[in-house]
């Protein structure tokens, strides 16, 4: 089933993952999965997407950008793989961790970096016996 942005009505093909970051046209965060039968009723019959949702009893999906992604510095653009925000508080850059065998630790908000936590390097990160 295609889905539509409830804000601007843009239609996305099946399995489109781009909507997961919000509608590329209007930035809308809510989407409705509409069957082919009713998908053009917004244009043809002047119904709101919400109305179609109600009639078809489909749930409106809300894409949430939570946590670091909505911050001014996107965590994905940072160089460190783990940031120690303060004692006992961490932010993890999952993409960076999956990419590189090194762990780059960022400390606080002052842009200091350090390579590897001592306790992390002690342990082998590789479960395979060579």
């Amino acid at each position: 089933m295609p889905h539509k942005c409830t804000k601007c009505g843009r239609e996305f093909r099946d399995g489109s993952v781009e909507i997961l970051r919000g509608c590329p046209s209007c930035g809308g965060k809510k989407f409705l999965y509409v069957s082919d039968r009713v998908k053009n009723e917004d244009v043809l019959e002047g119904k709101s997407i919400e109305k179609i949702a109600e009639e078809t009893k489909q749930e409106v999906l809300e894409v949430k950008h939570q946590g670091p992604a909505t911050r001014p510095t996107d965590i994905l653009e940072r160089v460190e793989s783990v940031r120690i925000v303060s004692k006992g508080k961490y932010e993890l850059n999952l993409e960076r961790l999956a990419e590189s065998p090194d762990i780059i630790i960022g400390m606080g908000d002052d842009g200091k970096y350090m390579l590897d936590l001592p306790s992390m390097s002690k342990r082998k990160a590789n479960p395979k016996k060579k």
């Binding site: 999906l61 949430k64 670091p68 783990v82 006992g88 993890l92 936590l117 990160a125 479960p127």
Partner: protein, 208 residues
Amino acid sequence: MVAFPRIRNFFGKLFGKKRSRVGIYGPPNAGKTTLANRIVRDVTGEAVGPVSEIPHETRRARRKEGVEINSGSTKLLIDIVDTPGVTTKIDYHEFMEYGMEQDEAIARAREATEGVAEAMHWLREDIDGVIYVLDSTQDPFMHVNIMMVGIIEARKLPVIIVANKIDLPDAAPQRIKSAFPQHPVVEISGLEGHNMDELYAKISEVFR
């Protein structure tokens, strides 16, 4: 009596087969350990690790090697790797809500961070396929899920998405199917053992 495919412990090396290492990933509390235990218990009568409502109970990945999955005429030998829940933020306050002392909570936060880092590193070369477990009562569109599925796709790892906890009244596995239509989704209850045979069939098919 039980409709599960036959599973038993078995030493793959004797048969010279390459074993696929299957990582069970997903957010905290999705039911990864419960699922790993269910699969392994049927093989050896043992468990992989403790299940808990406290997030990050599994702070070190645990493995069970040589699990034979039989489904129909296919046999597949896999290693099951249960991982800590993946998150982008870990805060010791979370643990204090479960009655832990501050020092213990801080130590636990650090361990959890290291555990996630380790599990992410394994995706680079040590894991051959992923079972991504989601709680069907939760919103599948969480940032971490989208990111993880993206990382798994970028690594070109075969993946099965498990819509877990379908025994709960507010489970909405359809949302998970809608969120990830590009991947196979199997609806199960790891706790009750619902629909495990379908999962075993998918495992045999996807991780072969």
